[in-house]
């Protein structure tokens, strides 16, 4: 028998429905793959007993969904009742949620199997999974003696899916944290429209940008997993009260007559020729499948990253104010005579890593008296213009936009250690616009670079048209026929 952990969600679902395999067998295969992949640092906490209990329950269930018995990994940002949930931060050491996030509650309700919590950048702030208190997650793709980043912040999710440690994983995306790691690992990552998936019980980074989504081996699996994650939730006031379509049913592969926009502003200086070629290849593939290609302009693109680095830290500084050593997580050891301000300051200094501290302080600065208008309000105005660019493109008849997901392939762990923080932020240059405009975006693996590392292209769709977007991604996936897998070295 082939290793069951290598199956896609759709294949496993069909084999379970046909009685060929059980969820217990599938779950055991994943658990043993996880055990053998410690060096990847993908899982931060595993829940093997819970997983087997879930699997037995799934095998016994009489009513099944597309996710019944499917073993999943959960990013450490999602509260799972009774299971350590730390957002990969020291400040949440020992924290065990007393409640369940809406997304995971829905997944367990659909019969999915909980394998454990996945590594990530601390509070989802990072593009390389190097800011985690758990240590680095490592990309299963390897072309020389270097260990490569799986990207971030959902690096553990991407590594786990690419290395077949789970059938699918949850991720979150505030500026590219699902799509960039998917591109770096040859997997599929979908950031849904803002409001499509509930944020209730997901540790908050930047509330107006955060959106959870699926990370999977195929576009079809992304459609299936999105169906389990999405839906209106009264517990999240920004959750969209819209009917939930059957995303998998949208995958007809027929994209004839669709109009794809190619934004000229995404052709940035110093873009490697390979990325440019990949983009041209993607364009040709969609054309081959019957889509109409048009050149478009999104004039405020280059201001998305600067505006993001005002808005995201501003929201983070507010959201992370709750970590004060009083209600949950870790409190610093205090010296005799220390007052409550000493407790706050010492707790936050030792509990937050350097990148989180930096962003909280930048956010504090841009919100402080005298700078609020110059920075925060100006950034919000620029955000209005960024969204308007997309609105105008869609109004002109564009169905989706095609662009590279990342400016490079995966880089080596530690290679950015001496760079200033802005160099790392440039990883998000193609993805962050989508969060600023609240749109759905999906990264699809399309090819390998000369060294043999995967590269992804991103499709950006109209708000709440994930079905259409997934169908375009499905057509691109079929044309690209990307089947490469990392050779096992771990």
């Amino acid at each position: 028998m082939t290793e069951l952990n290598r199956l896609t969600i759709a294949e496993a679902r069909d084999k379970m429905a046909g009685g060929e395999i059980t969820s217990v067998e599938l779950t055991e295969a994943c658990l043993s793959a996880i055990e053998g992949a410690g060096v990847l640092g993908a899982f931060a906490h595993t829940t093997p007993e819970r997983a087997l209990d879930d699997a037995r329950a799934a095998d016994a269930a009489t009513e099944k969904t597309g996710l019944t018995g499917i073993p999943l990994g959960i990013k450490d940002l999602f509260c799972v009742e009774g299971v350590p949930t730390q957002a990969a931060s020291r400040i949440l050491e020992g924290f065990k949620p007393q409640y369940e996030s809406t997304i995971t509650r829905q997944l367990w309700g659909s019969g999915a199997v909980m394998l454990g919590k996945l590594n990530m950048d601390e509070f989802a702030m990072g593009s390389s999974n190097e800011t985690s208190v758990y240590g680095n997650a490592v990309n299963p793709w390897k072309v020389d003696d270097r260990q490569l980043t799986p990207g971030g912040s959902s690096g553990g999710s991407a590594a786990a899916v690419a290395a077949d440690l789970c059938l699918g994983a949850t991720g979150t995306d505030t500026g590219g944290s699902i799509r960039q790691p998917a591109a770096f690992t040859g997997t599929v990552g979908l950031k849904p429209t803002y409001g499509r998936c509930s944020r209730w019980g997901v540790v908050a980074f930047a509330s107006s940008l955060d959106q959870a989504g699926p990370m999977t081996k195929t576009v079809r699996d992304a459609a299936i997993l999105l169906g389990g994650m999405a839906g209106h939730d009264p517990m999240d006031s920004t959750s969209a009260d819209l009917p939930l379509p059957d995303f998998e049913a949208a995958l007809t592969g027929d994209i004839r007559g669709k109009t794809i926009g190619i934004p000229r502003e995404y052709r940035v200086d110093n873009m490697p020729a390979e990325i440019d070629e990949l983009w041209a290849k993607g364009r040709a593939m969609l054309e081959e499948a019957g889509a109409k290609i048009v050149d478009i302009s999104l004039p405020h693109t280059k201001y998305a990253l600067p505006a993001y680095y005002v808005i995201a830290p501003a929201e983070a500084s507010s959201n992370l104010a709750r970590y004060d050593g009083v209600r949950f997580g870790r409190r610093a050891e205090l010296a005799p005579g220390d007052g409550i301000t000493d407790m706050y300051e010492k707790t936050r200094a030792e509990g937050f890593g350097p990148e989180v501290q930096r962003r909280v302080m930048v956010g504090t600065y841009v919100l402080s008296a005298g700078y609020y208008d110059a920075y925060y309000n100006r950034a919000r105005k620029v955000r209005t213009l960024i969204k308007r660019d997309f609105d105008e493109a869609f109004a002109a008849g564009v169905d989706a936009i095609l662009a590279p997901t990342t400016p490079t392939a995966a880089f080596g762990l530690g290679e950015m250690a001496d760079a200033d923080p802005v160099q790392m932020y440039l990883n998000d240059v193609f993805t962050v616009t989508v969060n600023m405009a609240g749109l759905p975006g999906i990264s699809v693996p399309v090819g390998l670079d000369a060294s043999g590392l995967p590269l992804g292209l991103q499709l950006v769709g109209r708000p709440f048209e994930e079905g259409d977007l997934l169908n375009l991604a499905y057509a691109l996936e079929r044309e690209a026929a990307f089947v490469a897998k990392p050779a096992r070295w771990w």
Binding site: S237, Y303, S317, F328, Y365, Y375
Partner: protein
Amino acid sequence: MSIDLETARKVAKLARIRVEDEHLPELAQEFNAILGLIDHLNEVDVEGVEPMTSVTPQRLKRRVDVVTDGDQPAKVLANAPDAREGFFAVPKVVE
């Protein structure tokens, strides 16, 4: 705009993050790198543009103003570093 040591110290204080004096120069330098990126926003003409308050056009949902949850002190206190007699305990606040 550039951030000096005094501003860096003030921001750290506002953020309630202890930063030792010897680390302030490095912090100020990192702030300045990030502000260098942010300052590109000044190139944009934002005259007459409304600041975005919501990325989706819908109006926030309203609900009836009634108690829907509560009465679970044990759960609320379960993760506290120091909980005593049904309260969060902190260092003395009032002299």
